[in-house]
Amino acid sequence: MIKNAREILPEEDFFHPGHPLCPGCPGGIALRWIMKVLGRDSIANVGATCLCLPTHVYPHSLEVPSLYIAMAPSPAGISGMSAAIRVLKRKGVIPAERKINIFAISGDGSTADIGLASLSGAAERNDDGLYFCFDNEAYMNTGIQRSSTTPQFSWTYSTTKGKTQRKKDLPRIMAAHDIPYVATLSVGYPEDFIKKVEKARDMEPGFKYFQIHGPCPTGWRFPENKTVEMARLAVETGFWSLYEVVHGSLRVTYRPSKQRPVIDYIKLQGRFQGLTDADIQQLQQWVDEKLKDLNQ
């Protein structure tokens, strides 16, 4: 039984209603949960993502300190902040016992494409912070262009006949960095989402990587009241999987009782319109291979 987020999260909100995200945006849901888990003693590093809108587009802001540097380098922001906290604690400027949660949030394009070197660098140095990649599977904030995490056959404004390449598997790349924690998240599974963020928050210092699957009504072309349904269908079909990698050891955190065919998921999205049977077959094969790999 999936628990409601309200049952397990504190009442206090650090993220304001009336934000300028699109109706039905999963980013708003995700950011609200993240903020509730991390609490007031946290500092945000925002990279280029739709989540700039509620966090950094004047006059909107979070209720915790937040820094926007540029599109790519929010992982390096984690490095700078955590280093500063260490030295300022040694010097007594920040009380040594005070725990401050440094976190970054950025889009899939800024994480998997332009910021990949920065991300890999901060992970390799194991700098202390939580990194959230909000993966809505395209450059949505700039108007829906393909990214390396856009799935094959998906329409975007820069792949009008469908993307020819497959989705980059970034969580696996991050797991290969030998960092304390890697996890995939979905707004369709609040309990799984919240538990993982709490776990990473309470772990020893080090780099923790999250990838949030973010079904985007605007970019994927589906009705804005279907966001959570789409998030669940992604997991039920195996298009997106929920797992964690703790110090290199992988554990699937949610297994659908029965794997549904991908057609159930893609037929509801305008971005996959006009796929041939062979295309759908190819997507199904990609999902099957992925799941086989994950289950080994």
Partner: protein, 396 residues
């Protein structure tokens, strides 16, 4: 106690940063900067400096980490050169835009191609529009002395801008000179710790830094505030130079240094290591040949001391700018700014630009002397055909 040591310019910079008690040091290796990084990493590893070293994977991340650390309220230092500086270009605007007084050593190196580790000023002059204060040093001692000064200038509440201390690669960065290492206690009195309130990420007093705006809300005003801060920094640079002199017994002239300007009819203006050669030529011409010739060493390129230079240069008949850099399609960046000093109808000096020393090509005493003598001959001319002179071009 101050101690005299044989040091390269890079080590002089590293010791300067150590004495300034920098707290976070992100860096990425690039010639000819790398020894700065190595030395500071060693200071930190040895426990001689209580700081955090971030061995970043690129200069872009270096400047981002510097911004984030400084935004947490830590005094931050870094160093780079040439292509590395250009790689961090976008983030330079962020540091100044958020008003974070990061200090960076720019170990000047030619921007390729052709790629080289030798120097001109093409890398730092190229960053002139990033709202960083840029100070140019002539030798290792000045590099050393400028690092604590740079923090005191940048962190002054009237300024709050990042500062670059620029010095040429190899010729300054790698050659050894006797350097008087400053006394730590005196530096501590000269430079108190950086504990900011204007831009700091503190959960007890939340603030968003690096805002995005969807229309022209305040952009003009925020840029204008940076301009005002730059303007105010002129007085601060002068004050800090004097305060440094009072504490350590050396002054450098603040925005620029002059010599022999009284009664002079012509003047040579330059910056960086070339100042040593040009000063020697001017002294010889004045003292041995009796020519009325003056010398100006420009120290601050940003803020550009337009008003102050006009006051010094307006009585000259001719002024030559000697610079190791050029904005191709226009002229030397320094020359172009010197030209802007003179915007009135009255008599102005004839201005001539010498673009030379590119890619580390040696600029000899004889060459500078010839420039000076030619300037003296041309001083009465109404105009010259092309004031931008590419000097030392082989085959011309």
């Amino acid at each position: 106690m101050a101690t005299l040591k044989m040091l390269t310019g890079n080590y002089a910079a590293a010791y300067g940063a150590k004495l300034a008690r920098v707290e976070v040091f992100p860096a990425f290796p690039i010639s000819p900067q790398s020894p700065v990084m190595e030395k500071i990493a060693e200071f930190i590893e040895n426990g001689e400096l209580d700081a955090e070293f971030i061995p970043a994977e690129s200069e872009h991340s270096v400047m981002a980490a510097a911004i984030a650390a400084e935004a947490m309220g830590a005094r931050t230092f870094t160093a780079t050169s040439a292509q590395g500086l250009l790689y961090m270009h976008e983030n330079l605007f962020v540091a100044s835009g958020i008003r974070l007084p990061v200090v960076m050593a720019i170990v000047n190196r030619t921007v390729g191609p052709p790629n080289t580790v030798l120097n001109d000023l093409s890398d730092s002059l190229d960053q002139r529009d990033t709202a960083w204060i840029q100070m140019y040093a002539e030798n290792a001692q000045e590099v050393h002395d400028m690092i604590p000064q740079a923090y005191r200038i940048g962190e002054d509440p009237r300024v709050l801008l990042p500062v670059a201390v620029c010095y040429e690669g190899i010729i300054i960065s790698h050659y050894m000179e006797p350097v008087e290492i400053l006394d730590q206690e005196k530096v501590d009195r000269f430079l108190p710790p950086y504990r900011p309130t204007h831009a700091v990420l503190d959960p007890d007093r939340p603030m968003s830094l690096g805002q995005i705006v969807m229309d022209d809300t305040y952009i003009t005003e925020i840029k204008y505030q940076q301009q005002e801060a730059m303007d105010r920094s002129k007085a601060v640079i002068q004050e800090v130079d004097e305060a440094f002199g009072n504490t350590f017994g050396r002054t450098y002239g603040g925005l620029f240094q002059t010599e022999g300007m009284e009664g002079a009819e012509v003047a040579l203006l330059t910056l960086g290591s070339l100042a040593s050669t040009v000063r020697a030529v001017v002294r010889q011409l004045r003292e041995e040949d009796g020519l009325p010739i003056g010398f100006i060493k420009l120290r601050a390129f940003r803020p550009f001391p337009s008003q102050e230079l006009r006051d010094s240069l307006s009585n000259m008949k001719a002024v030559a700018v000697l610079e190791k850099g050029v904005s191709i399609g226009a002229g030397g960046a320094v020359f172009l700014d010197v030209s802007h000093c003179f915007n009135r109808r009255d008599d102005n000096p004839l201005l001539i630009d010498y673009v030379l020393g590119l890619g580390g090509r040696d600029v000899t005493f004889e060459e500078v002397r010839n420039i000076a003598l030619r300037l003296f001959e041309e001083r009465a001319a109404d105009s010259v055909e092309n004031p931008i002179r590419w000097y030392q071009v082989r085959g011309l």
